[in-house]
Protein backbone atom coordinates (compact mmCIF):
# COMPACT_ATOMS: atom_id res chain seq x y z
CA UNK A 1 0.00 0.00 0.00
CA UNK A 2 1.46 3.33 -1.05
CA UNK A 3 1.70 5.87 1.75
CA UNK A 4 -0.21 8.80 0.26
CA UNK A 5 0.93 11.24 2.91
CA UNK A 6 4.65 10.65 2.68
CA UNK A 7 5.15 9.54 -0.93
CA UNK A 8 6.51 11.92 -3.54
CA UNK A 9 7.23 14.42 -0.77
CA UNK A 10 3.57 14.63 0.08
CA UNK A 11 3.06 17.07 -2.77
CA UNK A 12 0.14 16.15 -4.95
CA UNK A 13 -0.47 18.98 -7.41
CA UNK A 14 -3.81 17.44 -8.39
CA UNK A 15 -5.22 17.54 -4.89
CA UNK A 16 -7.77 20.19 -4.05
CA UNK A 17 -5.84 21.13 -0.92
CA UNK A 18 -2.74 21.98 -2.94
CA UNK A 19 -4.77 23.88 -5.52
CA UNK A 20 -6.48 25.85 -2.74
CA UNK A 21 -3.13 26.62 -1.12
CA UNK A 22 -1.75 27.94 -4.40
CA UNK A 23 -4.77 30.18 -4.87
CA UNK A 24 -4.51 31.42 -1.29
CA UNK A 25 -0.82 32.27 -1.69
CA UNK A 26 -1.46 34.00 -5.00
CA UNK A 27 -4.20 36.11 -3.45
CA UNK A 28 -1.88 37.07 -0.60
CA UNK A 29 0.75 38.08 -3.13
CA UNK A 30 -1.63 40.14 -5.21
CA UNK A 31 -3.10 41.83 -2.15
CA UNK A 32 0.46 42.52 -0.95
CA UNK A 33 0.07 40.56 2.29
CA UNK A 34 3.27 38.78 1.29
CA UNK A 35 6.11 39.84 -0.98
CA UNK A 36 7.24 37.85 -3.99
CA UNK A 37 10.18 36.10 -2.39
CA UNK A 38 7.93 34.96 0.48
CA UNK A 39 5.40 33.69 -2.05
CA UNK A 40 8.09 31.84 -3.92
CA UNK A 41 9.63 30.44 -0.71
CA UNK A 42 6.27 29.16 0.52
CA UNK A 43 5.60 27.48 -2.81
CA UNK A 44 9.00 25.78 -2.58
CA UNK A 45 8.36 24.74 1.03
CA UNK A 46 5.07 23.18 -0.02
CA UNK A 47 6.88 21.11 -2.67
CA UNK A 48 10.03 20.39 -0.68
CA UNK A 49 8.26 18.00 1.63
CA UNK A 50 10.18 16.31 4.37
CA UNK A 51 13.79 17.34 3.81
CA UNK A 52 15.40 18.41 7.09
CA UNK A 53 12.17 17.58 8.98
CA UNK A 54 11.98 15.76 12.30
CA UNK A 55 9.19 13.15 12.17
CA UNK A 56 10.13 11.29 15.34
CA UNK A 57 7.07 12.65 17.15
CA UNK A 58 4.67 11.44 14.45
CA UNK A 59 2.57 8.34 15.07
CA UNK A 60 4.21 5.10 13.91
CA UNK A 61 0.85 3.77 12.74
CA UNK A 62 0.79 6.50 10.07
CA UNK A 63 3.84 4.82 8.53
CA UNK A 64 3.62 1.15 9.43
CA UNK A 65 3.40 -1.41 6.62
CA UNK A 66 3.33 1.11 3.77
CA UNK A 67 5.47 1.91 0.74
CA UNK A 68 6.96 5.39 0.58
CA UNK A 69 8.06 6.32 -2.90
CA UNK A 70 10.34 9.06 -4.21
CA UNK A 71 10.46 11.28 -1.14
CA UNK A 72 13.35 13.10 0.44
CA UNK A 73 13.89 12.88 4.17
CA UNK A 74 17.53 13.97 3.89
CA UNK A 75 19.11 15.60 6.92
CA UNK A 76 22.01 17.99 7.33
CA UNK A 77 23.89 16.00 9.97
CA UNK A 78 24.80 12.29 9.74
CA UNK A 79 23.00 9.65 11.81
CA UNK A 80 19.96 11.79 12.52
CA UNK A 81 16.80 10.19 13.90
CA UNK A 82 13.94 11.14 11.60
CA UNK A 83 11.19 8.54 12.01
CA UNK A 84 9.24 7.22 15.01
CA UNK A 85 11.45 4.64 16.71
CA UNK A 86 8.65 2.02 16.74
CA UNK A 87 7.89 2.36 13.02
CA UNK A 88 7.94 -1.04 11.23
CA UNK A 89 7.16 -2.60 7.89
CA UNK A 90 7.87 0.47 5.82
CA UNK A 91 9.49 0.04 2.41
CA UNK A 92 11.27 3.14 1.15
CA UNK A 93 11.45 2.99 -2.65
CA UNK A 94 13.81 5.38 -4.46
CA UNK A 95 13.88 7.81 -1.54
CA UNK A 96 16.67 10.13 -0.48
CA UNK A 97 17.41 8.99 3.05
CA UNK A 98 20.87 10.45 3.37
CA UNK A 99 21.92 11.10 6.96
CA UNK A 100 18.74 9.36 8.15
CA UNK A 101 18.70 6.58 10.72
CA UNK A 102 16.24 3.92 9.60
CA UNK A 103 14.62 2.06 12.51
CA UNK A 104 15.04 -1.73 12.52
CA UNK A 105 12.22 -3.58 10.77
CA UNK A 106 12.01 -1.31 7.73
CA UNK A 107 13.41 -1.74 4.21
CA UNK A 108 15.22 0.55 1.79
CA UNK A 109 14.94 -0.26 -1.93
CA UNK A 110 16.93 1.94 -4.33
CA UNK A 111 17.49 5.58 -3.64
CA UNK A 112 20.25 6.53 -1.24
CA UNK A 113 20.88 6.12 2.48
CA UNK A 114 24.41 7.35 3.06
CA UNK A 115 25.74 9.37 5.94
CA UNK A 116 27.92 12.26 4.89
CA UNK A 117 29.52 15.38 6.24
CA UNK A 118 31.42 18.35 4.82
CA UNK A 119 35.17 17.91 5.17
CA UNK A 120 38.06 20.37 5.08
CA UNK A 121 38.07 20.27 1.28
CA UNK A 122 34.58 21.84 1.34
CA UNK A 123 33.09 18.70 -0.20
CA UNK A 124 30.70 16.12 1.18
CA UNK A 125 32.28 12.79 2.17
CA UNK A 126 30.56 9.60 3.23
CA UNK A 127 31.45 9.00 6.88
CA UNK A 128 31.50 6.00 9.19
CA UNK A 129 29.85 5.75 12.58
CA UNK A 130 32.77 7.64 14.11
CA UNK A 131 32.23 10.37 11.51
CA UNK A 132 35.52 9.56 9.81
CA UNK A 133 35.47 10.16 6.03
CA UNK A 134 35.44 7.06 3.86
CA UNK A 135 34.90 8.26 0.30
CA UNK A 136 33.52 11.33 -1.52
CA UNK A 137 29.75 11.47 -1.80
CA UNK A 138 30.20 12.33 -5.49
CA UNK A 139 33.39 10.45 -6.46
CA UNK A 140 32.94 11.13 -10.17
CA UNK A 141 33.83 14.77 -9.56
CA UNK A 142 37.16 13.74 -8.06
CA UNK A 143 37.75 11.40 -10.98
CA UNK A 144 37.06 14.21 -13.44
CA UNK A 145 40.00 16.22 -12.13
CA UNK A 146 42.22 13.32 -11.12
CA UNK A 147 41.94 14.21 -7.44
CA UNK A 148 42.65 11.70 -4.72
CA UNK A 149 39.64 9.98 -3.18
CA UNK A 150 41.73 8.78 -0.27
CA UNK A 151 40.50 10.41 2.94
CA UNK A 152 44.11 10.62 4.11
CA UNK A 153 44.67 13.24 1.41
CA UNK A 154 42.00 15.61 2.72
CA UNK A 155 43.54 18.94 3.71
CA UNK A 156 44.41 19.14 7.39
CA UNK A 157 43.14 22.71 7.48
CA UNK A 158 39.83 23.96 6.08
CA UNK A 159 40.02 25.25 2.52
CA UNK A 160 38.33 28.53 1.72
CA UNK A 161 37.07 27.11 -1.56
CA UNK A 162 35.96 23.65 -2.67
CA UNK A 163 38.82 21.52 -3.91
CA UNK A 164 36.73 20.78 -7.00
CA UNK A 165 36.32 24.50 -7.70
CA UNK A 166 40.06 25.05 -7.31
CA UNK A 167 40.82 22.16 -9.64
CA UNK A 168 38.32 23.46 -12.17
CA UNK A 169 39.91 26.90 -12.23
CA UNK A 170 43.36 25.37 -12.61
CA UNK A 171 42.07 23.30 -15.52
CA UNK A 172 40.64 26.40 -17.22
CA UNK A 173 44.02 28.13 -16.84
CA UNK A 174 45.90 25.09 -18.12
CA UNK A 175 43.56 24.69 -21.09
CA UNK A 176 43.95 28.37 -21.97
CA UNK A 177 47.70 28.15 -21.72
CA UNK A 178 47.73 25.06 -23.93
CA UNK A 179 45.53 26.81 -26.47
CA UNK A 180 47.78 29.86 -26.52
CA UNK A 181 50.82 27.68 -27.06
CA UNK A 182 49.03 25.78 -29.80
CA UNK A 183 47.90 28.92 -31.60
CA UNK A 184 51.22 30.71 -31.16
CA UNK A 185 53.03 27.97 -33.04
CA UNK A 186 50.48 27.65 -35.82
CA UNK A 187 49.97 30.63 -38.19
CA UNK A 188 46.80 29.10 -39.66
CA UNK A 189 45.13 28.77 -36.27
CA UNK A 190 46.35 32.26 -35.37
CA UNK A 191 44.69 33.70 -38.48
CA UNK A 192 41.46 31.81 -37.70
CA UNK A 193 41.44 33.21 -34.19
CA UNK A 194 42.09 36.78 -35.33
CA UNK A 195 39.39 36.57 -37.99
CA UNK A 196 36.88 35.09 -35.55
CA UNK A 197 37.21 38.09 -33.25
CA UNK A 198 37.06 35.75 -30.26
CA UNK A 199 39.38 35.77 -27.29
CA UNK A 200 41.17 32.69 -26.09
Amino acid sequence: MINEKYSYNGYNPESQAVKNKKVELKQKLLSKQIIYKEYSAQISAMKRGFKYMDLTKELAKDFNNTEIIGSSFAQREPFTDVFPSDMTGVTFINCNLNNCNIPVGNTVEGGTNKHHKTQNDCEEWVVDAQLKPIEPLSPERYDKFGLSKNPKDISATPLIESIIGIAEKEKVKADRKAKILEVAGNPTLLDELINSGKEL
Partner: protein, 338 residues
Protein backbone atom coordinates in the same frame (compact mmCIF):
# COMPACT_ATOMS: atom_id res chain seq x y z
CA UNK B 1 14.52 24.54 -34.90
CA UNK B 2 14.69 20.90 -35.82
CA UNK B 3 12.88 18.86 -33.19
CA UNK B 4 13.94 15.25 -32.92
CA UNK B 5 11.41 13.86 -30.47
CA UNK B 6 9.17 14.71 -27.53
CA UNK B 7 9.34 13.20 -24.05
CA UNK B 8 7.01 13.45 -21.06
CA UNK B 9 8.09 13.33 -17.42
CA UNK B 10 6.15 12.98 -14.16
CA UNK B 11 7.33 12.21 -10.62
CA UNK B 12 5.67 8.81 -10.44
CA UNK B 13 6.14 7.89 -14.09
CA UNK B 14 3.62 5.71 -15.90
CA UNK B 15 3.31 2.76 -18.25
CA UNK B 16 6.59 1.65 -19.80
CA UNK B 17 8.30 4.93 -18.74
CA UNK B 18 9.58 5.51 -22.27
CA UNK B 19 8.33 9.10 -22.12
CA UNK B 20 6.54 8.94 -25.46
CA UNK B 21 3.27 10.09 -23.87
CA UNK B 22 1.85 10.98 -20.47
CA UNK B 23 0.56 7.40 -20.27
CA UNK B 24 4.17 6.26 -20.59
CA UNK B 25 5.76 9.15 -18.72
CA UNK B 26 9.33 8.85 -17.47
CA UNK B 27 9.87 9.04 -13.73
CA UNK B 28 12.89 10.85 -12.28
CA UNK B 29 15.12 7.79 -12.57
CA UNK B 30 14.17 7.20 -16.20
CA UNK B 31 14.59 10.92 -16.95
CA UNK B 32 18.07 10.88 -15.41
CA UNK B 33 19.06 7.78 -17.38
CA UNK B 34 17.75 9.37 -20.56
CA UNK B 35 19.59 12.66 -20.01
CA UNK B 36 22.85 10.93 -19.15
CA UNK B 37 22.84 8.24 -21.77
CA UNK B 38 20.38 8.74 -24.57
CA UNK B 39 19.27 12.31 -25.13
CA UNK B 40 20.19 13.76 -28.51
CA UNK B 41 20.00 17.15 -30.19
CA UNK B 42 16.45 18.28 -30.80
CA UNK B 43 14.87 16.31 -27.96
CA UNK B 44 12.15 18.24 -26.15
CA UNK B 45 11.07 17.23 -22.64
CA UNK B 46 7.91 18.34 -20.89
CA UNK B 47 8.19 17.97 -17.12
CA UNK B 48 4.97 18.14 -15.12
CA UNK B 49 4.65 20.20 -11.96
CA UNK B 50 5.56 17.84 -9.14
CA UNK B 51 8.47 17.18 -6.80
CA UNK B 52 11.45 15.34 -8.23
CA UNK B 53 13.85 14.13 -5.55
CA UNK B 54 17.37 13.35 -6.65
CA UNK B 55 19.30 10.52 -5.03
CA UNK B 56 22.38 11.23 -7.15
CA UNK B 57 23.52 13.97 -9.47
CA UNK B 58 22.16 14.22 -12.99
CA UNK B 59 25.11 14.76 -15.28
CA UNK B 60 24.35 15.17 -18.96
CA UNK B 61 27.55 17.11 -19.65
CA UNK B 62 28.58 14.46 -22.19
CA UNK B 63 25.42 14.94 -24.23
CA UNK B 64 24.77 18.15 -26.10
CA UNK B 65 22.36 19.76 -28.46
CA UNK B 66 23.35 21.94 -31.37
CA UNK B 67 22.71 25.55 -32.29
CA UNK B 68 19.84 24.58 -34.58
CA UNK B 69 18.58 21.71 -32.42
CA UNK B 70 19.09 22.39 -28.75
CA UNK B 71 17.97 19.99 -26.04
CA UNK B 72 14.92 21.49 -24.38
CA UNK B 73 13.41 20.92 -20.93
CA UNK B 74 10.18 22.78 -20.20
CA UNK B 75 8.14 22.72 -17.02
CA UNK B 76 4.40 22.36 -17.60
CA UNK B 77 1.37 22.51 -15.32
CA UNK B 78 0.25 19.40 -13.48
CA UNK B 79 -3.06 19.23 -15.34
CA UNK B 80 -1.48 19.21 -18.79
CA UNK B 81 -3.04 16.65 -21.08
CA UNK B 82 -1.70 17.87 -24.40
CA UNK B 83 1.23 15.85 -25.65
CA UNK B 84 4.23 16.35 -27.93
CA UNK B 85 3.81 19.09 -30.49
CA UNK B 86 0.34 19.80 -29.13
CA UNK B 87 1.60 21.06 -25.76
CA UNK B 88 0.53 24.70 -25.79
CA UNK B 89 2.09 27.76 -24.23
CA UNK B 90 -0.93 27.89 -21.90
CA UNK B 91 0.25 24.54 -20.52
CA UNK B 92 3.62 25.98 -19.51
CA UNK B 93 4.42 26.60 -15.84
CA UNK B 94 4.82 30.33 -16.11
CA UNK B 95 3.78 30.97 -12.51
CA UNK B 96 6.16 30.10 -9.68
CA UNK B 97 3.44 27.96 -8.13
CA UNK B 98 3.30 25.68 -11.16
CA UNK B 99 6.98 25.02 -11.76
CA UNK B 100 8.16 21.43 -11.28
CA UNK B 101 10.42 21.30 -8.24
CA UNK B 102 13.75 19.48 -8.40
CA UNK B 103 14.88 18.80 -4.87
CA UNK B 104 18.53 18.17 -5.62
CA UNK B 105 19.31 17.71 -1.90
CA UNK B 106 23.12 17.30 -1.83
CA UNK B 107 23.41 16.73 -5.56
CA UNK B 108 23.38 18.86 -8.69
CA UNK B 109 22.23 18.95 -12.27
CA UNK B 110 24.86 19.45 -14.96
CA UNK B 111 24.05 19.88 -18.63
CA UNK B 112 26.07 19.70 -21.79
CA UNK B 113 26.08 22.43 -24.42
CA UNK B 114 23.09 23.95 -26.22
CA UNK B 115 20.33 23.35 -23.70
CA UNK B 116 17.18 25.39 -23.12
CA UNK B 117 15.72 25.10 -19.62
CA UNK B 118 12.42 26.84 -18.88
CA UNK B 119 9.94 26.95 -16.01
CA UNK B 120 11.85 24.82 -13.52
CA UNK B 121 12.52 25.22 -9.79
CA UNK B 122 15.73 23.74 -8.41
CA UNK B 123 17.02 23.57 -4.87
CA UNK B 124 20.07 21.89 -3.41
CA UNK B 125 23.24 22.23 -1.42
CA UNK B 126 26.00 20.98 -3.74
CA UNK B 127 28.76 23.23 -5.11
CA UNK B 128 26.14 24.39 -7.59
CA UNK B 129 22.49 23.51 -7.95
CA UNK B 130 22.63 23.83 -11.71
CA UNK B 131 25.68 23.98 -13.95
CA UNK B 132 25.11 24.50 -17.64
CA UNK B 133 27.64 24.07 -20.43
CA UNK B 134 28.25 26.32 -23.41
CA UNK B 135 25.47 28.29 -25.09
CA UNK B 136 22.55 27.63 -22.81
CA UNK B 137 19.34 29.44 -22.06
CA UNK B 138 17.86 29.30 -18.57
CA UNK B 139 14.55 31.13 -18.46
CA UNK B 140 11.79 31.55 -15.87
CA UNK B 141 13.53 29.22 -13.46
CA UNK B 142 14.10 29.47 -9.73
CA UNK B 143 17.35 28.34 -8.19
CA UNK B 144 18.18 28.17 -4.50
CA UNK B 145 21.33 26.81 -2.92
CA UNK B 146 20.52 26.14 0.72
CA UNK B 147 24.02 25.01 1.70
CA UNK B 148 25.69 26.54 4.70
CA UNK B 149 29.07 25.92 3.09
CA UNK B 150 30.85 28.91 1.58
CA UNK B 151 31.38 29.01 -2.15
CA UNK B 152 28.45 26.76 -2.92
CA UNK B 153 26.77 28.66 -5.72
CA UNK B 154 23.33 28.47 -7.20
CA UNK B 155 23.82 28.61 -10.96
CA UNK B 156 26.98 28.37 -13.01
CA UNK B 157 26.93 29.13 -16.71
CA UNK B 158 29.48 28.22 -19.33
CA UNK B 159 30.53 30.55 -22.12
CA UNK B 160 27.61 32.22 -23.89
CA UNK B 161 25.20 31.54 -21.03
CA UNK B 162 21.84 33.26 -21.01
CA UNK B 163 19.95 33.59 -17.74
CA UNK B 164 16.70 35.39 -18.23
CA UNK B 165 13.77 36.14 -15.94
CA UNK B 166 14.98 33.86 -13.14
CA UNK B 167 14.82 34.04 -9.36
CA UNK B 168 18.13 33.20 -7.74
CA UNK B 169 19.14 32.82 -4.08
CA UNK B 170 22.20 31.34 -2.42
CA UNK B 171 22.78 30.98 1.30
CA UNK B 172 26.55 30.88 1.30
CA UNK B 173 27.91 31.28 -2.21
CA UNK B 174 27.35 33.28 -5.36
CA UNK B 175 23.94 33.46 -6.97
CA UNK B 176 25.09 33.22 -10.57
CA UNK B 177 28.65 32.49 -11.65
CA UNK B 178 28.53 33.80 -15.20
CA UNK B 179 30.92 32.56 -17.87
CA UNK B 180 32.39 34.60 -20.75
CA UNK B 181 30.01 36.34 -23.12
CA UNK B 182 27.10 35.61 -20.80
CA UNK B 183 23.88 37.53 -20.53
CA UNK B 184 21.97 37.86 -17.28
CA UNK B 185 18.83 39.90 -17.60
CA UNK B 186 15.46 40.51 -15.96
CA UNK B 187 16.40 38.35 -12.98
CA UNK B 188 15.49 38.79 -9.32
CA UNK B 189 18.60 37.85 -7.37
CA UNK B 190 18.25 38.11 -3.63
CA UNK B 191 19.66 37.16 -0.25
CA UNK B 192 23.05 36.03 -1.51
CA UNK B 193 24.29 37.59 1.69
CA UNK B 194 27.29 35.56 2.78
CA UNK B 195 30.18 38.00 3.19
CA UNK B 196 32.43 38.09 0.14
CA UNK B 197 29.91 36.47 -2.20
CA UNK B 198 27.82 38.04 -4.91
CA UNK B 199 24.47 37.96 -6.60
CA UNK B 200 26.28 37.82 -9.93
CA UNK B 201 29.92 36.76 -10.05
CA UNK B 202 31.53 37.51 -13.38
CA UNK B 203 34.18 34.92 -13.97
CA UNK B 204 35.39 36.06 -17.37
CA UNK B 205 35.32 38.98 -19.78
CA UNK B 206 32.52 40.41 -21.88
CA UNK B 207 29.16 39.99 -20.20
CA UNK B 208 25.89 41.82 -20.61
CA UNK B 209 23.88 42.36 -17.45
CA UNK B 210 20.61 44.23 -17.74
CA UNK B 211 17.40 44.93 -15.85
CA UNK B 212 18.24 42.73 -12.88
CA UNK B 213 17.16 43.42 -9.31
CA UNK B 214 19.86 42.67 -6.74
CA UNK B 215 18.27 42.67 -3.31
CA UNK B 216 20.16 42.10 -0.06
CA UNK B 217 23.31 40.60 -1.51
CA UNK B 218 26.72 40.96 0.16
CA UNK B 219 27.98 42.07 -3.24
CA UNK B 220 25.59 42.79 -6.08
CA UNK B 221 27.95 42.24 -9.01
CA UNK B 222 31.48 41.05 -8.36
CA UNK B 223 34.45 40.49 -10.58
CA UNK B 224 38.20 40.68 -10.52
CA UNK B 225 40.11 42.14 -13.48
CA UNK B 226 37.28 41.41 -15.88
CA UNK B 227 36.83 43.69 -18.85
CA UNK B 228 34.09 44.87 -21.20
CA UNK B 229 31.07 44.36 -19.00
CA UNK B 230 27.74 46.13 -19.49
CA UNK B 231 25.69 46.85 -16.38
CA UNK B 232 22.46 48.44 -17.49
CA UNK B 233 19.19 49.37 -15.81
CA UNK B 234 19.70 47.50 -12.57
CA UNK B 235 18.11 48.05 -9.20
CA UNK B 236 20.47 47.51 -6.29
CA UNK B 237 18.76 47.47 -2.92
CA UNK B 238 20.34 46.91 0.47
CA UNK B 239 23.50 45.27 -0.82
CA UNK B 240 26.91 45.63 0.83
CA UNK B 241 28.80 46.68 -2.30
CA UNK B 242 26.67 47.05 -5.41
CA UNK B 243 29.38 46.70 -8.06
CA UNK B 244 32.81 45.48 -6.99
CA UNK B 245 35.75 45.29 -9.40
CA UNK B 246 39.51 45.45 -9.00
CA UNK B 247 40.91 47.14 -12.12
CA UNK B 248 38.64 46.04 -14.94
CA UNK B 249 38.17 48.30 -17.95
CA UNK B 250 35.70 48.82 -20.75
CA UNK B 251 32.72 48.70 -18.38
CA UNK B 252 29.51 50.57 -19.20
CA UNK B 253 27.34 51.25 -16.17
CA UNK B 254 24.22 53.09 -17.26
CA UNK B 255 20.78 53.73 -15.81
CA UNK B 256 21.39 51.81 -12.59
CA UNK B 257 19.50 52.65 -9.44
CA UNK B 258 21.41 52.26 -6.18
CA UNK B 259 19.66 52.42 -2.85
CA UNK B 260 20.72 51.48 0.65
CA UNK B 261 24.18 50.11 -0.07
CA UNK B 262 25.87 49.61 3.27
CA UNK B 263 29.47 49.94 2.03
CA UNK B 264 29.79 51.10 -1.58
CA UNK B 265 27.82 51.80 -4.70
CA UNK B 266 30.66 51.31 -7.19
CA UNK B 267 33.98 50.10 -5.85
CA UNK B 268 37.16 49.74 -7.89
CA UNK B 269 40.31 48.64 -6.07
CA UNK B 270 42.44 50.60 -8.51
CA UNK B 271 40.91 53.63 -10.16
CA UNK B 272 40.60 52.70 -13.82
CA UNK B 273 39.25 55.52 -15.92
CA UNK B 274 38.47 53.78 -19.17
CA UNK B 275 35.05 52.87 -17.82
CA UNK B 276 31.79 54.63 -18.54
CA UNK B 277 29.25 55.70 -15.93
CA UNK B 278 26.14 57.57 -16.99
CA UNK B 279 22.70 58.34 -15.64
CA UNK B 280 23.10 56.25 -12.49
CA UNK B 281 21.17 57.10 -9.34
CA UNK B 282 22.61 57.23 -5.85
CA UNK B 283 24.85 59.18 -3.55
CA UNK B 284 26.80 58.80 -0.32
CA UNK B 285 23.85 59.91 1.76
CA UNK B 286 21.88 56.82 0.78
CA UNK B 287 24.65 54.42 -0.29
CA UNK B 288 27.42 55.12 2.24
CA UNK B 289 30.16 55.56 -0.40
CA UNK B 290 28.61 55.70 -3.82
CA UNK B 291 31.84 56.13 -5.78
CA UNK B 292 34.77 54.34 -4.22
CA UNK B 293 37.87 54.82 -6.37
CA UNK B 294 35.68 55.85 -9.25
CA UNK B 295 36.40 59.31 -10.61
CA UNK B 296 33.98 62.00 -9.44
CA UNK B 297 35.95 65.09 -10.37
CA UNK B 298 37.09 64.95 -13.99
CA UNK B 299 35.74 64.12 -17.40
CA UNK B 300 35.40 60.47 -16.43
CA UNK B 301 32.74 61.05 -13.78
CA UNK B 302 29.01 60.41 -14.14
CA UNK B 303 27.91 63.97 -14.86
CA UNK B 304 24.28 62.94 -15.06
CA UNK B 305 24.08 61.08 -11.77
CA UNK B 306 20.84 61.68 -9.91
CA UNK B 307 20.28 61.46 -6.18
CA UNK B 308 17.62 61.31 -3.51
CA UNK B 309 14.92 58.87 -2.49
CA UNK B 310 14.10 56.78 -5.58
CA UNK B 311 10.62 56.28 -4.13
CA UNK B 312 10.04 52.58 -4.61
CA UNK B 313 6.39 51.65 -4.19
CA UNK B 314 7.40 49.51 -1.20
CA UNK B 315 11.13 49.55 -0.47
CA UNK B 316 12.48 46.04 -0.17
CA UNK B 317 9.55 44.28 -1.76
CA UNK B 318 7.93 46.21 -4.58
CA UNK B 319 10.63 47.90 -6.62
CA UNK B 320 8.27 49.64 -9.02
CA UNK B 321 8.49 53.42 -8.80
CA UNK B 322 5.93 55.85 -7.48
CA UNK B 323 4.79 58.58 -9.86
CA UNK B 324 6.86 61.08 -7.90
CA UNK B 325 10.11 59.13 -8.32
CA UNK B 326 13.00 61.20 -9.67
CA UNK B 327 14.00 58.22 -11.81
CA UNK B 328 11.00 58.21 -14.12
CA UNK B 329 11.97 59.45 -17.58
CA UNK B 330 15.42 60.20 -16.26
CA UNK B 331 17.44 57.37 -17.80
CA UNK B 332 19.64 57.39 -20.82
CA UNK B 333 17.85 56.97 -24.10
CA UNK B 334 18.61 57.96 -27.65
CA UNK B 335 19.60 61.62 -27.58
CA UNK B 336 20.70 62.26 -31.13
CA UNK B 337 17.68 64.30 -32.12
CA UNK B 338 15.97 61.38 -33.81
Amino acid sequence: MAINDYFHVTAAGAGDKSGDSWANAMDEAAFKAHLEGAVVAGDVHFVKDDTYTLDSSIDSSARSGTAVSPIVIIGVKSGTTNEGANVAYSDWSRDAADRPFFDCVTFKITTGDYYVLRNLSLEGSDTEVLEVGLVNIVENCKGYNDSGVANHDCLKTGTYGNVINCEIESESGDGIAAGSYSNVSFCYIHDCDNAGYAGIKISSNICDLAFNILDNCAIGISSSSRDVIQVLNHTFYGCGVDVNETNGYGWSCINNLHEGSTTDGYKWTTQTDINFFWKNHGNDARCNDMWDLVDTTTVFQDYEVSTGDPKFTTPGSDFSLQDSSPNIDNGMGISLGV
